[in-house]
Amino acid sequence: MSNSIDFNNHASLDFDELSQVNRLEWLSSIQNDALGAFKSMPLPTRKVEHWKYNDMSFLKAQTFKLNTNTYEDLAVSSSQIALPNSIEITFINGVLISDLTTRSLQPGIAITSFDSVSTEQQQFIIEQTEIDSKNALDNLNLALCNNGILIEITKNIRIESPVFIRHITLDNGAAEVTTNRVLVKQQPGSEFTLVELFDSQIEEDSTLTLQQSLFSIDANATCNHYRLNLESERAIQSSKVESRLAQSATLNCFFLGLGSRLNRTDINVKHQGNGSHAELTGIYLPANEQAIDYHSNIEHQVAHCTSNEIFRGIIADEASATFNGKIHIFEDAQKSDAFLNNKNLLLTNRAEINTKPELEIYADDVKCAHGATVAQLDEKSVYYLQTRGIDRQKAKKMLSIAFIQELLNKVKLEELNDFLTSLLDEYMSHLD
C-alpha cells in the first residue's frame, strides 16, 4: 500500500495500491471507469493539443501524495472575504470540514456531502458524471474523489443567502494531490448564488488541486456563480466548471485568476434547452512567473440560445496566460446568438499571451461574433496623465484598472464587489 501517485507510471495506477479514506461503494463503478480512462490517455504534456500551452513537466518531476488527512481538529482561519449572511462551507485540501448535518438552512436549499447522500441523490450524481475525452486530470479527479457535496435548490425558490465555498489548501509535508467535486442541482424557476474561493495558503509544498464544479440548471432557473482563484505561487490547479442549461435557464458567471504557479480551468457551458442564456465574465492577472489558462467551450446544442463571453487579462513580469474560447454551434441550433471577446494587456516585453478564439458552426441562421486583441499600455495615455502631475506608476495603475473596470462592474454582490475593488487596487499598486 502506498498513498502516492507516480505520474511517470500513470498507466499502472491501481486503486488496490492506494490507501484512500472513505471509499464510497456507490461511486466505485464510475471511479473505476474514470481511472481506466485516465490510464489509457496520454499524460498532459505540450504535445497533447488540449495542454499545448501549459508546462506540465512538474507532474513527472515528483511523486504526489494523495491527501489522507481529515483535518478533524483544525481551526480554520477566517476568510479574506466577509460575506455576511452567506452559507459558508470549507474544504481543506479537498476535504469537507464543515459539518453540514447540523446546519439549519432556509427551506428550499439542501446541501449534502457524498457520504450521506440518498440513493436518489447518488443516482443524480452518477448521471451527471461524465468521462472527459480530453482532460485526463479531470478523469483522475473523478477516479479519486470521495469528497464532494451536492447542493439542491427547490423549484421556484430564490435563495437569498449566497453559498460561499472556501477551497483552502495548506502545506501537508509533501507534494500532494487534492481532489474535490461540487454539484449543483437547480430545479425549475429557482435562483441562487454560489461564490467559490480558492485560497491557497501553501508556502513550501506544491499542491496539485483537482476540482470539478458541475451545474445542472433546470428550466427558467438562474444561477449566479463567482469563482475566485486567489492563489499562492506554489499552487497548481487543474479544474473543470461545467454548466448544463435547460430551457430559458440563465447562467451568470464571473472568474478571477490571481496568483498560481499554474491555474488551468476548463469552462464548459452546454445550452440544452431553447432560450437559455449564459453570461461569462473573466479577469486573469498573472504576474512574476505565474501561468493562468482559461479554456472555455460554449456549446449551443439547441436553437434560440444566447451567450456573451468577455475575458480580459493583464499579464505582468514574465507571466503567461492562455485564453482559448470556443463556440460550438450544433446543426439544430438555429437562431443562436454568441458573442465572445478577449482583450489582453501585456505590461512587459517578457509577458506572454496565447489567445485563440475558435468557432465551430454547423447551423446557418446564427449570429456569431468573436475577437481577441493584445496590446501594451498606451504610452500616450501614460504621458497625458503624467502631464497632470500623476506619476508613472500611478498612471499605469489607473490605466490597468480602467482596462478591467467594466468587467468588475458585473460583480453584483456588493460585499464581493467592494472586496475585489480594494484587492485589485492593492494588486495594481505593486505592478511596475
Binding site: E379, L385, T387, R388, M398, A402
Partner: protein, 247 residues
C-alpha cells in the same frame, strides 16, 4: 520664470528644434505662431517632458531649476501645464477620478491644503460651468467621445483647477466655435495674474484679440526667427510667413 537657451531637440533621431531661445517672465503672455511642422507642438512636448523627445543641446530653466532632468509628472507638479493640441482619450478612467488624482498629488507636492471631497466636487462643478461643460462630463471617461471643442474646454478646466505657474496652450483655439473661443479666452484671462505666465501657440490672430499677448514670436524650422509685440500677429496675418522667409 522660464529661460530657454539654444534648445536643440530630436524626435526619433530627427532634429526638430534647432537652437531655440526664449525668456518668459511672470505675468507675461507670449504668443508663438509659425507654419505647420515648424516644431510648435514639439516645443510643448519637450518642455513638458514627453518620453522620446530628446534634448541634444541647450538648457531650460524653470524658476531657476533645470527641468530637463525631471520626469513629466514632476514638471507638472512644479507648476508647468500643457494644454494639448490633441487631448488624449482615456476610456475607463472617469474625468472626476482623473481630476481628483491630479489635483490631490499636485497640491500635496506644492504643500497646499488638500481639498476635502465635498469642496473638491463643488469646485469641479463650478469650473465645469465656467468653461460651459455640463457636469455630466465629470462622470464620463477622460475625453472619451468628447467633441473637439469639448476636449479643448476640458483642458482649460483642468488648467484652472491646477493653478499652474506656466501654461502652454497648444492651439487651444483651433476647432472652437465663436462662443467657445470666448469661453476659453475668458478662462485664460481669469487666470492671468502677475505670477502666472502663458505661452499661447496659435495660427490665428483672432485669438490674440481676446488674449492680448505681450510678445509674439515666429517659430520656423525649429528656431524663433522673429519676435515683436502684438502688432506682429497682424502683420503676419496680412503678409503670411513667406514675408518672414524673405527677411
Amino acid at each position: 520664470m522660464l529661460s530657454i537657451k539654444n534648445l536643440h531637440a530630436n524626435v526619433e533621431d530627427k532634429n526638430i528644434l534647432k537652437g531655440l531661445n526664449l525668456e518668459v517672465k511672470p505675468g507675461e503672455v507670449h504668443a508663438i505662431m509659425g507654419p505647420n511642422g515648424s516644431g510648435k507642438s514639439t516645443f510643448g512636448y519637450v518642455l513638458s517632458g514627453r518620453e522620446g523627445y530628446e534634448v541634444t543641446e541647450g538648457e531650460v530653466k524653470f524658476d531657476g531649476q533645470n527641468i530637463l532632468e525631471m520626469e513629466a509628472d514632476e514638471r507638472a507638479r512644479e507648476g508647468l501645464f500643457l494644454a494639448f493640441q490633441y487631448p488624449v482619450e482615456i476610456p475607463g478612467v472617469s474625468n472626476m477620478e482623473f481630476l481628483k488624482a491630479s489635483i490631490d498629488t499636485t497640491r500635496e507636492y506644492q504643500g497646499k491644503e488638500p481639498y476635502d471631497a465635498v469642496t473638491f466636487m463643488k469646485l469641479a462643478r463650478e469650473k465645469c460651468q465656467q468653461v460651459n461643460l455640463d457636469q455630466n462630463f465629470l462622470k464620463r471617461g477622460v475625453n472619451e467621445g468628447f467633441s473637439g471643442g469639448e476636449k479643448k474646454r476640458n483642458e482649460i478646466m483642468q488648467m484652472i483647477m491646477l493653478e499652474p505657474k506656466l501654461c502652454i496652450l497648444d492651439e487651444t483655439d483651433s476647432g472652437l466655435d465663436i462662443d467657445a473661443l470666448q469661453v476659453v479666452a475668458d478662462g485664460v484671462n481669469a487666470c492671468r495674474d502677475d505670477n502666472r505666465a502663458f505661452i499661447v501657440v496659435t495660427h490665428y490672430q483672432r485669438l490674440l484679440d481676446y488674449i492680448v499677448p505681450d510678445y509674439v514670436h515666429v517659430l520656423s524650422d525649429g528656431k524663433i526667427v522673429k519676435s515683436g509685440g502684438k502688432e506682429l500677429a497682424l502683420e503676419l496675418e496680412e503678409k503670411g510667413y513667406s514675408w518672414i522667409d524673405k527677411l
